[in-house]
């Protein structure tokens, strides 16, 4: 097999020539976007947290409880289901960086969970105890298991299909829809001048996840292109249904996230956003949109879509890069 898929341990040990330039470009971007959670100081956020309403605190705790274990679940999906079946060295480089980033995300949420005054036992157990959360996790685990417990043969159509299923499950669904709706909820607090530093942390995570999505979508499109045997209406229908099912699971989860409602946000509102996101992912995969709803969270233009000018005396600037050295040009020599 000469495409991006393959299992040869001794293949792909040399980077050059780079065949999949997009993977190399994404690796460079990811390296430039390296950050550490301890750059954020949460003193003010803790004060905010204490004066928030019960339902607001519940929402934040619930989000953390979900994000924290699921960052590591993404790593399992990558380690068991993607890395072993990809042959290009440039893709391996990127995946290694992404896995470190997921670890870093986990540590970031860990940092918040350990800093905020919450019931930690409840928070750490929620992904098992809360049915709507457990259901989302089970959905993911099923797809990862197919990559491990059965010996998967990546040269067969069935093997390649499993590869794509797992990819869609962790990348499109988990990272691209479920995480993204959580990011919107997390950032909404900053729009009310609450949890600003936590918001800065989320900005960083979102930037990473944007790259993860670019990588995942590229990989799916590349695999589809290189493998005409995957281009069947039945398989397409199955993938689309996975995404629609994921939306339904997320709706149930969000009703537990906000049983009543908080200032500016309620479960219906979040679920409209989920559908807006799902349509975007469907279109990126070549499907027609399903829900055709508008984005209710127009304020994301402020929270996420624009360059941020920081008043240095008041906020952590998340725009600086740590690896200035890697970009010195020849003129300076």
């Amino acid at each position: 097999m000469s495409g991006i898929l393959g299992t040869g341990v001794q293949e792909g040990l040399l980077l050059k020539p780079v065949k999949y330039q997009w993977a190399m470009d994404l690796y460079d971007q990811a390296v430039a976007n390296t950050w550490f959670p301890n750059e954020i100081q949460l003193d003010q956020d803790i004060a905010d947290f204490k004066r928030m309403t019960d339902e607001e605190r519940h929402a934040i705790t619930y989000l953390m409880s979900y994000f924290n274990p699921n960052e590591l679940l993404v790593n399992k999906a990558l380690a068991f289901g993607v890395y072993p079946y990809v042959n290009a060295a440039e893709a391996h480089l990127y995946l290694a960086k992404q896995m470190w980033e997921e670890a870093n995300h986990c540590m970031s949420f860990e940092y918040v969970l350990e800093t905020f005054p919450i019931d930690r036992d409840e928070a750490y157990n929620a992904h098992v105890d809360v049915p709507s959360m457990a259901r989302k996790e089970e959905f993911q685990v099923n797809f990862i298991k197919r990559m491990t417990e059965q010996t998967l043969d990546i040269t067969t159509t069935e093997g390649k299909q499993d590869f794509v299923r797992n990819l869609v499950a962790y990348n499109i669904v988990l990272e691209g829809i479920w995480f993204y709706s959580g990011f919107m909820v997390a950032l909404s607090f900053r729009q009310r001048n609450l949890l600003r530093n936590f918001g800065g942390l989320i900005d960083w995570v979102v930037r990473d996840e944007s790259l993860h999505l670019k990588f995942g979508i590229n990989l799916i499109l590349t695999v589809l292109e290189e493998n005409p045997d995957l281009q069947t209406p039945e398989f397409a229908a199955e993938i689309k249904q996975m995404i629609l099912d994921a939306v339904e699971m997320e709706e149930e989860y969000n009703r537990d996230l906000l049983p009543s409602g908080i200032l500016g946000l309620n479960a219906n509102y979040i679920n409209q956003y989920v559908k807006y996101l799902a349509d975007r992912r469907l279109e990126e995969l070549g499907f027609e949109p399903e829900y055709k709803v508008s984005n209710p969270a127009k304020w994301m233009a402020t929270a996420n879509d624009t360059y941020e000018l920081v008043n240095f005396f008041e906020s952590t600037n998340t725009s600086y890069e740590t690896n200035a050295k890697s970009v010195t040009g020849s003129k300076s020599e």
Partner: protein
């Protein structure tokens, strides 16, 4: 689901859409009638409602909904500002229906609220003793609140308004302006008339006092000064005293510049106990901790900038202070850093010569010397070092150290570069001693010593409020109102001079220096806002000529006012021997600087006003040791609703992250220009998609693209030219923010050498263009399409490096009938 609202008294009532609609209608009065303000805001509000929402939450929710539409039309910002003002009026003054009632409430509550402030010990008792309060109350004009943008109302309310002991807000915006005006008139013979004059200017946003003054004027704790400049002496007692002074000054909200150049370096001997020194770094870390422990006015962390000369042996470690990694005890996470650079160093960088680092203990007078004298002594020490006569020294390449500074600047925005010889040679006030450092924002240049903690007092003229419709027959639609500009400058200088006699600090060396020098710094804000209205691009000759002419007029009026004040109130005690007393004005210092440096300073010397008679006037006496300085105005610029200082528009649409939250800023001048062309609605999504860059939008005319560049598209040399032209008229300095797209160190070296060559005294933060951005939420995104675009662009040789391996459009699952059918 039926929605009930919980009222302040705990009772529930059914949600009344009509009431909300009326409020929105009122808040959109006078705005474009073609926009269905009420329908749009009300329908979006309904999405967010939930049962049990409180009236307070409901007020906030309406405002948030109005705000989220600012990206489509900045007039929504006006609606949000008015809605917020209404909640403030109701909180401070009580319920009202009509404008007349609101005016009456303003009038009626003014005196009782002042009295309450005094009774609760918040305000200066003299506010109810010295003034004709009914006359002041009659002048209050709440219609001026309409000048405030949303972020201005928020900033006023969060940061500057006085609150009662029980947390009640006591000030509406016009009370606030009046209280500040009164607090700065306490020393006047006719305080009421003078307060009315100051109120008139500030409430119209024509100039604003700086932050500390706005917070504390008229209060029982009048620490009104903005900047403090001091140094640590190389002795343990003085280090301890400095820690104490930093605590007190921080408590009083002032920003601090602190030089550590004199501290002996690590490993230097200590005679008293026969050990060696740990160097300055651990002491800096100690001060950094102090800044976090003592919050400024209870609201912000303390703010301080450390200065060090770059010949100090520990300078390499100084460069690492702001690094995030490494030993946390050798870092300063809160304090800022700035480097004090000599001409000798710049010349050695240019000639690729060596650079020597010394222990201050062995070269103590270097810190006192500047210009040619510094160079001569430095070269003697170099010879000593090579001859083995010094205990400690280090030799490196000047260029390597310069690159290390710039690399650190790029990665952490520190250290800021400031030029000691330019500053000292272009000063008119260093007759009392060498200037050893600048301040927290790099616009103050005052000498200090062990007995003097220098103090500066700031105000900024809002240039955009001095642009008026043109009356002449020419083409220009707008012009500068020079008469108003002169009036603003004169009033501001008097206000600043008053401040010196009213302010208090808890550091006796600061009060002493303030009285001896009476240093003030009048600056400007709204430069870019103004030139956009005039139709000039930031990097155009017209813009350079504009700042040159405007600063010349302001400087002339300010200096003249100071000579008048000297006649009325006497010259400042340290006047004799100053540059002023020798008949010098700021413009004269360029040649002095050039002669000493022996290298041309590349800036125009042109002037238009009668400076010869001013030279005669200043000889006779000045009230103030310094008059001009351009501060960053990051916070008061928000209140004034204009571009800060000399800053460009960051981009045409961007977000501001401040301690009051995150706000979207859409360039209203651009929107107005595009609305006139009937193009705004058609291009606004493209502008958001490009994060405020209009250059790639084919439909836009060239003159729009010319005027509305992002800060990263403007040549960095334009920032330097604007600063160099303004610096001609400014006796102190300018907080010159820099913006760079290029990350090439060679380019950076050229830019910063360019600043030095133009006689610019200081630079401030460096903003690098961010290279990474999250997936956008509110504009249409399809990464698969972007990828095929990029691939075809690459195939066509246009070479945008985003990169997809395969050239044809990628359709993913779009191969089947199922995918195109939809549901």
């Amino acid at each position: 689901m039926s929605i009930t609202v919980v009222k302040r008294n705990g009772q529930r009532e059914a949600y009344d859409a009509n009431k909300i609609n009326l409020a929105i209608e009122k808040a959109s009065e006078g705005l474009d009638e073609n926009i269905t303000w009420v329908t749009q805001i009300a329908s979006e509000l309904e999405l967010t409602l939930f049962d049990g929402i409180t009236t307070q939450q409901l007020d906030e929710a309406v405002i948030q909904v109005a705000l989220q539409n600012v990206k489509d039309d900045p007039a929504f910002d006006t609606v949000a500002a008015r809605l917020l003002l209404k909640t403030i009026y109701k909180r401070v003054l009580g319920d009202y229906e009509t404008d007349e009632e609101l005016a009456r409430l303003h009038l009626e509550h003014f005196e009782p609220n002042l009295r309450r402030g005094v009774e609760e010990g918040l305000l200066d008792t003299r506010l109810i003793e010295l003034f004709d309060i009914p006359r002041l109350a009659a002048a209050l004009n709440h219609e001026r609140d309409d000048l405030l943008k949303y972020i201005g109302v928020v900033t006023l309310n969060n940061r500057y308004g006085i609150k009662g002991r029980n947390g009640d807000a006591l000030e509406v915006p016009q009370y606030f302006w009046m209280r500040v005006a009164m607090g700065l008139s306490l020393n006047e013979d006719d305080p009421t008339t003078q307060a009315l004059g100051f109120y008139e200017k500030m409430s119209k946003l024509e100039y604003l006092a700086a932050g500390s003054t706005l917070v504390n004027a008229g209060t029982s704790y009048p620490q009104l000064a903005n900047c403090f400049v001091m140094e640590m002496q190389d002795d343990i007692e003085h280090i301890a005293k400095t820690v104490r002074d930093v605590m007190w000054l921080t408590k009083g909200t002032g920003g601090i510049g602190l030089s550590v150049t004199k501290l002996r370096s690590m490993g230097s001997p200590i005679r008293s106990n026969n050990t060696t020194s740990t160097g300055p770094i651990p002491f800096m870390h100690t001060i950094d901790s102090v800044l976090r422990a003592v919050s400024r006015g209870g609201k912000k962390f303390g703010a301080l900038a450390f200065y060090m000369e770059n010949w100090h042996l520990d300078f390499p470690e100084f460069l690492d202070l702001r690094q995030n990694s490494g030993d946390p005890y050798r870092r300063t996470r809160t304090a800022n850093t700035a480097v004090w650079v000599s001409d000798e160093f710049m010349k050695r960088v240019q000639s690729d010569a060596d650079w020597y680092l010394f222990d201050p203990l062995e070269v103590s007078e270097l810190n006192e010397l500047y210009g040619a004298e510094f160079s001569a002594r430095y070269n003697e020490y170099v010879a000593d070092a090579e001859a083995g006569k010094l205990r400690m020294f280090k030799k490196i390449k000047a260029r390597e150290q310069f690159k290390a500074m710039l690399m650190s600047l790029q990665a952490s925005a520190h250290p800021w570069l400031t030029w000691k010889d330019t500053i000292n040679l272009r000063a008119l006030n260093n007759n009392t001693g060498t200037i050893h450092l600048s301040n927290l924002c790099t616009e103050i240049t005052l000498p200090q010593d062990e007995d003097n903690v220098s103090v500066c007092n700031l105000a900024s003229i809002n240039l955009s409020r001095h642009i008026v419709p043109s009356t002449g027959s020419g083409q220009a639609r707008f012009t500068v109102d020079f008469a108003r500009l002169e009036e603003s400058a004169r009033t501001a200088v008097r206000q600043l001079d008053n401040l010196i006699d009213i302010t208090k600090s808890s550091v006796k060396e600061a009060d002493f220096s303030n009285q001896q020098n009476r240093a003030v710094g009048l600056g400007v804000m709204g430069f870019t806002d103004a030139i956009e209205q005039l139709g000039f691009a930031y990097d155009s000759e017209q813009a350079y000529d504009f700042i040159d002419e405007v600063m010349e007029h302001i400087s002339y009026a300010a200096i003249d006012e100071s000579t008048e004040l000297a006649k009325e109130r006497g010259a400042y005690p340290n006047f004799e021997g100053s540059g002023w007393s020798n008949g010098l004005v700021p413009l004269d210092t360029i040649d002095r600087n050039e002669a000493d440096r022996g290298v041309p300073i590349t800036v125009s010397r042109k002037s238009t006003l009668d400076w010869d008679s001013m030279r005669e006037k200043v000889k006779k006496g000045m009230r103030n040791a310094t008059l001009m300085a351009i501060a960053p105005t990051a916070s008061i610029g928000l209140v004034a609703g204009t571009t800060p200082g000399l800053d460009p528009q960051f981009t045409q649409i961007f977000s501001r992250n401040t301690s009051s939250g995150k706000f979207l800023e859409v360039n209203r001048n651009l929107v107005a220009d595009l609305q006139k062309l009937g193009m705004w609605e058609q291009v606004r999504e493209s502008i958001l998609r490009s994060q405020g860059d209009v250059q790639g939008i084919a439909a836009l005319p060239d003159h729009i693209k010319e005027v509305y560049k992002t800060s990263f598209q403007i040549s960095p040399y334009a920032f330097l030219e604007v600063a160099a032209r303004a610096q001609k008229w400014i006796d102190q300095a300018i907080s010159r923010n820099m913006y760079l797209e290029s990350r090439d160190l060679g380019d950076m070296m050229d830019v910063y050498i360019g600043a030095w060559e133009r006689g610019v005294k200081t630079t401030y933060y460096l903003h690098m263009k961010p290279r990474h951005q999250a997936e956008q939420s509110t504009v249409k995104v399809n990464k698969a399409e972007e990828l095929s675009d990029a691939a075809s662009a690459r195939a066509a040789g246009e070479g945008e490096k985003v990169g997809a391996g395969a050239a044809p459009a990628r359709r993913g699952f779009g191969f089947s009938g199922l995918a195109t059918k939809g549901e």
